[in-house]
């Protein structure tokens, strides 16, 4: 695949040109934070932030999305008959998605694209999107991607990978989609593939890690009954921040909304941190305590997902939950506790 040079002097002009063929998304400063947004005319992506506060998962999985529509007007022939909201996504490209966030989209795809059922909304957004990643040469102290099945130059889920070379970017096409984008942008000056070396340097800068090697050997019920969950969940407020900022969290709710005689069925991000997520109509709640909900989140990410798909843990090491948890619950600590858990110790303690 092609490796080309993008002159930063031409960057603004080239992106403006690309906007004729693609709807562009990129990180943009907004108040104190950086968020992924549509790049309107004249807007450039801001590559100065390592990890945006929210992950770019909303580009393919909006926080709130209309899925069906209907009319309750009984004078209409089709009243009360639900219809699909058609998504006519133009070609889109995300600039500056970090390798961890790109990998997370390929993990989430396992949930929305199955042999039996396909989610048409997620997939149509995904398929319309070209992912142009930006490699991380200066990872943060909370980045632990290299031990979470990812890395600062990880290519999974990306169509193009960019690396910053000061006065220019080097872009490597990784898929046909990526080749097409590079061609459309007119980036034709080929260069050598220096990614390998830069990758090594960047990886060596990552000092934070999780241990996951033993997770697959442990039994679900042993981990579920482990003694550390009360301690881990003690300070949790069940605020749900971790699930909202997480690029791999996909759980959602479905709700109807009616205005006058017309209505929509929509799906919204949901969170396993909330009691309403699982409560039965009877009032019985299978995960009625905060400990049970915290346990569910970590067990899902670090054990259930691993056992179900055999594709590693459902965490890419972006560190967002670590940085943004108001009570400093740290998935790295939880992961290491789980990984080093010895069920026989718990049995001995009980005896």
């Amino acid at each position: 695949m092609k490796v080309v040079i993008i002159d930063k002097g031409q960057w603004a002009e080239d992106l403006e040109g690309l906007k004729k063929s693609y709807q562009l998304f990129g990180p943009v400063g907004e108040k104190d934070y950086t968020v992924f947004k549509t790049l309107e005319k004249g807007m450039l992506p801001d590559f100065s932030t390592l990890n945006t506060r929210l992950s770019p998962k909303s580009i393919v999985f909006p926080q709130s999305e209309d899925i069906l529509e209907f009319s309750l007007d009984e004078t209409r022939e089709d009243h009360h008959i639900m219809k699909e909201v058609k998504k006519d996504h133009p070609s889109r490209a995300v600039f500056g998605i970090r390798p961890c966030d790109a990998k997370s989209i390929s993990l989430v795809k396992l949930n929305f694209d199955t042999a039996e059922y396909k989610d048409p909304y997620w997939l149509s957004a995904y398929e319309a999107t070209t992912f142009v990643g930006l490699a991380c040469d200066n990872p943060a102290s909370t980045c632990f991607c290299t031990t979470a099945g990812c890395g600062p130059y990880h290519e999974e889920g990306l169509d193009v990978l960019l690396t910053d070379e000061g006065d220019h970017f080097v872009a490597k096409a990784l898929t046909d989609k990526g080749e097409t984008l590079i061609k459309t942008a007119g980036w034709a000056t080929e260069t050598e593939d220096t990614f390998k070396l830069k990758k090594k340097t960047a990886e060596s800068k990552i000092t934070s890690a999780v241990e996951t090697g033993n997770l697959e050997n442990l039994e679900i019920l042993d981990l579920h009954g482990a003694t550390f969950w009360d301690d881990i969940s003690f300070a949790c407020l069940n605020c749900g921040t971790c699930t909202y900022v997480c690029p791999t969290c996909w759980c959602f709710d479905i709700q109807d909304e009616v205005h006058g005689k017309s209505g929509k069925r929509m799906r919204n991000w949901d969170s396993c941190m909330f009691p309403l997520f699982t409560i039965h109509t009877t009032g019985h709640n299978p995960r009625g305590t905060k400990m049970q909900r915290v346990r569910q989140r970590f067990m899902h990410k670090l054990k259930y997902f691993l056992d179900k798909y055999n594709q590693g843990i459902m965490c890419v090491g972006c560190g967002r939950c670590v940085r943004q948890c108001p009570v400093n619950i740290d998935i790295r600590r939880v992961c290491n506790l789980m990984n080093s858990y010895k069920p026989e110790d718990a049995c001995a303690a009980q005896e």
Partner: protein, 280 residues
Amino acid sequence: MQNPYLPYPVRVDDIEVATEDKSLKTFKFVFLNDGDEKKFAYKAGQFAELSIPGVGEIPIGIASSPVEKGFVMFTVFRAGVVTTHLHNMKTGNIMGIRGPLGNWYPWDMLEGKNILIVGGGFAFTTLRSSIVYMLDPANRSKFGNIDVVYGARTPGMLLYKDELIEWEKRDDINMHLTIDAPAEGWNYNVGFTPPITEEKAPKGDENTYAIVCGPPIMIKFTLPVLEKLGYSNDHIIMSLENRMKCGFGMCGRCGIGKELVCKDGPVFTLDQVNQTPKEY
């Protein structure tokens, strides 16, 4: 591939009060579009999302049987927002049905076997579907003895009472109906489901499977009885419930460990249930 969120439009064809306290109603739906009934091909034990536009959806076990054509039937307890709207509906109203969803009782494996069905209260819907399926002339010879223990608080709380009485008269199914306390005109068993099961149900063996559906308290006391009767955990088949939204394994809430009740279930053997966290 079909959009799994999009319900088939249906018309409410018939509504019947199902129990004396009027807390349950049985709904028959007819598909509006030709061909949708065929697409909705289901097996006994599966469920569907009943979908009321503007209100929401609820997952309910299918009470009609695959051998019954021209309609689909659900018996629904009035409990929350959607079920209350459903109870207020009139025949002729238009709504949606999404499904069939989930797995089913393992009919291929159950062929040639004796079947014990234990049901309690209003958890008899997919059990009715199963019994009607097995009693169908085309299917009856595929199964050995069929025993049914079904208990409710009072005679008026038994679902599908006319059919139960009909089945009582047949000699190819052993019915063991029971109510909690004696009642006038009641000529069958009196007592809770677990002790009646202990008294009447056939012994468990390699060729006998038990399908158990009922309120948690009934399940709790029936499982030890079945164990005593010699049923092994992989010969006890259960149907679980959890809060659901999508019904096809994507929205994430009904998980019990790595299994999802909506997609990997709702039917599990006791053996399988024992290997998952008790989060249902």
